[in-house]
C-alpha cells in the first residue's frame, strides 16, 4: 500500500477540520499578537491552511485545478513574505521595535 493510498483513505472531513483549525489558529494569531514577525507567520499559516484544503479537495474530486491554485498561492505568499519582511526590517530600523501597535499613524 503506497503512501498515496493512505492519504486517500483519510476522509475528506478530517482535512476540513484540520485546515479549519489551522486557519483559526492563524487568524487569531493575526488578531491578537503584536509582534510583526509572528503576524507574518500567522498569515503564512492561514494561507497554508487554505492550500491544504485545496489539495485535499483536488485529490478528492480527481481534478488538478486546485493544485495549480496552490502553486499560485505559494508564489504570491513568497512574494508577500519578502515584501512584508522588507517592510519589517525598515520599521525595525526606524523604531527599534517589531510591535505593530506602535504604528497608529493612520488614525482618523
Amino acid at each position: 500500500m503506497s503512501i498515496l493510498n493512505i492519504f486517500n483513505q483519510v476522509e475528506i472531513s478530517h482535512y476540513i477540520y484540520l485546515s479549519t483549525v489551522l486557519f483559526a489558529i492563524g487568524l487569531f494569531g493575526v488578531l491578537f499578537r503584536r509582534n510583526a514577525i509572528i503576524l507574518l507567520m500567522c498569515i503564512e499559516l492561514m494561507l497554508n491552511a487554505v492550500n491544504l484544503l485545496f489539495t485535499a479537495f483536488s485529490s478528492y474530486m480527481g481534478d488538478a485545478d486546485g493544485q495549480i491554485f496552490v502553486f499560485f498561492i505559494m508564489v504570491v505568499a513568497a512574494a508577500e513574505a519578502a515584501v512584508g519582511l522588507a517592510i519589517l526590517v525598515l520599521v525595525y530600523r526606524n523604531t527599534r521595535k517589531t510591535d505593530v501597535s506602535f504604528l497608529d499613524q493612520l488614525k482618523g
Binding site: L27, V30, L31, F32, R34, V100, S101, L103, D104, Q105, L106, K107, G108
Partner: protein
C-alpha cells in the same frame, strides 16, 4: 417675409443688447429704430398683399418648428398674419417707429441708452409674437414677454427705489391676471383639445360641447387675463404707477400697444364670447365701472403723466364697453385712434417734461404756449381728438362705441356718455393749466424752458396728422356708404364665403333711427362743449390753479387719493401677506426649516465624530473589523 417682420426687432435687441455698449449712441438708436421701421414696411406690404388681392387666402401662415410635442399634445411655433393681426401689427410697428425716433432725442443724455433701445426692440418683438401667433400658446408667450419688458422699462431708472417698486407692482398685478389667462388656456385645451385658433373656433362654432357653461368659464378666465394687461378694475392700479418709466415707454407700452393686448385677446376670441352673453355683460359692466372711476380720479391728478395714465385706463374701459356690447369693430377702431392720440399726448407731455427739465407737476407749469409752439399745437390736437371734437378721430370712434352702447342698453349709454364727458373736463383742465396762464415754477427760469429738438417734434407732427385723419379707417355710414366702415369690412371680410372671417358671427351695425343717431351725436358734442367752456372759464378766464395737496377736501380729496384703492389693497392684501410672511419667516423658516437643516448638519457631525473613533490607526482593530465583516457576510450567505 412674416418671419423677417417678427425677427427684425429681435435682431435689433440682440445687437443692441450685446454690442450696444461699444456702439456710439446715434448708431445704436437708429439701429433700433430701423429694425422696427423695417418691420413696419414689411407689415405694410403684407397688408397690401392680403387685402388687395381677392384670391389671397384669409391668412398668411408660417410654421417655424414644432414647439412642443408630448403624446397627443402638439403645439407649433407658428405665425399667422390675418386682417386682425395686420391691423395690430401696423399700429405696433408704425407707432413703435415714431416712438423709437423720439426716444433717440429724449434719452440722449442717459447712460443706459443702448439698453433702452434693446428693451424697446425686445418689447416690439414680444408684442408681434402676441398678435401674430397662430395659437393661444404663442399668444401667452408674447403676453409674458411684454409683461417682462414692461417690468424692465418701468424700472429702467433702477437706482430710484420707488421706480423699482412700481415695476414690481406692475409685474405682480399682471401675474394675477396671467393666472386667469393660463387657467383659461388650460380649460380651452381640456375642452377642445387644441390651442390653434382656427381649430378652436371651428369647434366652438359647430358647438362641439354640450354645455355652454364651459364657454362662459373660458370667456371669463380670459377676461381676467385681459383685466390685468389692459388695466381694468380690480387690476388697474399698476398702470398709473407705471408712469415711473421714461415717457416714451409710457407712450409705447402703457398707452398705444401693450395695454391693448387685452382688447386683442377678446376680439380674437370672439367666437367664444359670442356664445356667452353673461361673460359679455361682465366685460361691459367692468369696462363701464373702470371707465367712470378712472375718469373721476383723473379730474384731480396734478402729475401730467398721471392724468394721461388715468385717461388711458378710462379709454380702455370704453373699449371694453364696446366689446361687451358685441361691437368688436368699434372697440378695435377706438384702439387705433386711441393709439394715435394717446401716443401723441404722451410724447407731447414728454416734450413738456423735457423742456421743463424734468418737472412733471402741472401746478408748476403754465404759459408754455409761447415757449413751445409746436408742442402746444400738437398737444391741442391730441386733446381735441381725445375729448371728441367733431370730425377728429376720437369723435368717430367714441361715437361708435356710444351708439352701440345705446343700442344695447340705455343706462350703459348714459353712464358711458358721462365718462366720455369727464374726459373733456380732465383733459382740458390739464391742457389749460399747462399751456395757458402764467409761468409758476420757481426752480427754473422761464427763459430756460425750451422747445424740443426736431427729432422729438417730428413724431408729434406725424401723430397729430394721424389723430386728425385717423377716423378715416372707419367712418360712420351717414358720411356716405362708399367711404365708410373700412375697418368693419376688413374684419367681416369672408372672401365671398370661401373662408371664415375674423368675426365668426356677422356683426350688425346697430339699427337705430337717423333722428336718434343725430340726437346722440348732438349729445356727445354738447357734452364736449360744456366741458370745454367750463374748464376754459375756470382755468383761463379766472386763471385758477389746482389746489395743493393739503387744501384738498371732501370729494376732491377722495379723488386726489384715487378712491384710496391702493390703501385698500395695502390693507386687504399686501399687509396681511407681509404679516403672514413675517410669521412664516420667524417660525417656519427660522425655527422650523433652519432648525431641521441645522439638525441634519450637527447630527451628521455628531455621528461622524462617533464613527471616527473606530479609525484609531491600530491595524489589529482593522483586522478584527474585517474578520467580523467577512463572518457577517458568510453568515448572511449561509442562512
Amino acid at each position: 417675409m412674416l418671419t423677417l417682420m417678427i425677427f427684425l426687432p429681435l435682431v435689433g435687441f440682440v445687437i443692441n443688447g450685446t454690442l450696444g455698449r461699444f456702439l456710439p449712441k446715434a448708431i445704436s438708436g437708429w439701429l433700433g429704430t430701423a429694425a422696427v421701421f423695417g418691420s413696419f414696411i414689411i407689415a405694410l406690404m403684407s397688408f397690401m398683399d392680403l387685402t388687395g388681392d381677392t384670391t389671397m387666402p384669409e391668412r398668411i401662415y408660417t410654421k417655424l418648428f414644432t414647439f412642443l410635442h408630448v403624446g397627443n399634445f402638439h403645439v407649433d411655433f407658428a405665425f399667422q398674419f390675418d386682417r386682425l393681426s395686420a391691423v395690430m401689427t401696423l399700429i405696433i410697428t408704425g407707432i413703435g417707429t415714431l416712438i423709437h425716433m423720439y426716444s433717440i432725442a429724449y434719452m440722449h443724455e442717459d447712460d443706459g441708452f443702448y439698453k433702452f433701445f434693446a428693451y424697446l426692440n425686445l418689447f416690439i418683438f414680444n408684442m408681434l409674437v402676441l398678435v401674430l401667433g397662430s395659437n393661444y400658446l404663442m399668444l401667452f408667450f408674447g403676453w409674458e414677454g411684454v409683461g417682462l419688458c414692461s417690468y424692465l422699462l418701468i424700472g429702467f431708472w433702477y437706482k430710484n427705489a420707488s421706480y423699482g417698486k412700481a415695476a414690481r407692482k406692475a409685474f405682480i398685478m399682471n401675474r394675477i391676471g396671467d393666472l386667469g389667462l393660463l387657467m383659461g388656456l388650460f380649460l380651452i385645451y381640456d375642452t377642445y383639445g387644441t390651442f390653434e385658433y382656427q381649430d378652436v373656433f371651428r369647434l366652438v362654432f359647430v358647438g362641439s360641447v354640450e354645455s355652454n357653461a364651459v364657454n362662459t368659464a373660458i370667456a371669463l378666465l380670459l377676461f381676467i387675463g385681459a383685466m390685468g394687461k389692459s388695466a381694468q378694475i380690480p387690476l388697474y392700479t399698476w398702470l398709473p404707477d407705471a408712469m415711473a418709466g421714461p415717457t416714451p415707454v409710457s407712450a409705447l407700452i402703457h398707452a398705444a400697444t401693450m395695454v391693448t393686448a387685452g382688447i386683442y385677446l377678446v376680439i380674437r376670441s370672439e367666437a367664444i364670447y359670442a356664445l356667452s352673453p353673461i361673460a359679455r355683460e361682465v366685460v361691459m359692466w367692468i369696462g363701464l365701472a373702470t371707465s367712470i372711476m378712472a375718469a373721476l380720479i383723473g379730474l384731480k391728478q396734478n402729475d401730467i403723466k398721471k392724468v394721461l395714465a388715468y385717461s388711458t385706463v378710462s379709454q380702455l374701459g370704453l373699449m371694453f364697453i364696446a366689446l361687451g356690447c358685441g361691437a368688436y369693430t368699434a372697440a378695435l377702431f377706438h384702439v387705433i385712434t386711441h393709439a394715435f392720440f394717446k401716443a401723441l399726448l404722451f410724447l407731447g407731455s414728454g416734450s413738456v417734461i423735457h423742456g421743463m427739465h424734468h418737472e412733471q407737476d402741472i401746478r408748476h407749469m403754465g404759459g408754455l404756449r409761447k415757449k413751445m409752439p409746436l408742442t402746444y399745437i400738437t398737444f391741442l390736437i391730441g386733446t381735441l381728438a381725445i375729448t371728441g371734437f367733431p370730425f377728429l378721430s376720437g369723435f368717430f370712434s367714441k361715437d361708435e362705441i356710444l351708439v352701440s352702447a345705446f343700442a344695447h342698453n340705455k343706462l350703459v349709454f348714459a353712464l358711458a356718455l358721462i365718462s366720455a364727458g369727464i374726459t373733456g373736463f380732465y383733459m382740458f383742465r390739464m391742457f389749460f393749466v399747462t399751456f395757458h396762464g402764467t409761468y409758476r415754477n420757481s426752480h427754473h427760469a422761464y427763459d430756460k424752458v425750451h422747445e424740443s429738438p426736431l427729432l422729438m417734434t417730428l413724431p408729434l407732427l406725424v401723430l397729430a396728422v394721424l389723430s386728425v385723419v385717423g377716423g378715416a379707417v372707419n367712418l360712420p355710414h351717414y358720411l356716405g356708404e362708399g367711404i365708410s366702415g373700412i375697418l368693419h369690412h376688413t374684419l367681416s371680410y369672408d372672401g365671398g364665403g370661401k373662408f371664415s372671417p375674423i368675426l365668426m358671427y356677422p356683426e350688425h351695425m346697430p339699427e337705430i333711427e337717423h333722428t336718434t343717431e343725430w340726437l346722440l351725436l348732438a349729445m356727445a358734442v354738447s357734452v364736449f362743449v360744456i366741458a370745454f367752456l367750463y374748464t376754459r372759464n375756470k382755468y383761463v378766464t379766472q386763471a385758477a390753479v389746482p389746489e395743493s395737496d393739503e387744501a384738498q377736501a371732501g370729494m376732491g380729496k377722495v379723488l386726489a387719493n384715487k378712491f384710496y384703492v391702493d390703501e385698500a389693497y395695502d390693507t386687504a392684501f399686501v399687509s396681511p401677506i407681509e404679516a403672514a410672511g413675517d410669521v412664516v419667516g420667524t417660525y417656519v423658516d427660522d425655527k422650523g426649516v433652519k432648525g431641521l437643516v441645522d439638525g441634519f448638519g450637527s447630527g451628521s457631525n455628531f455621528i461622524s465624530r462617533l464613527l471616527s473613533k473606530i479609525q484609531n490607526g491600530n491595524i489589529e482593530y482593522y483586522l478584527v473589523y474585517m474578520v467580523i465583516g467577512v463572518a457577517l457576510l458568510l453568515a448572511f450567505n449561509l442562512f
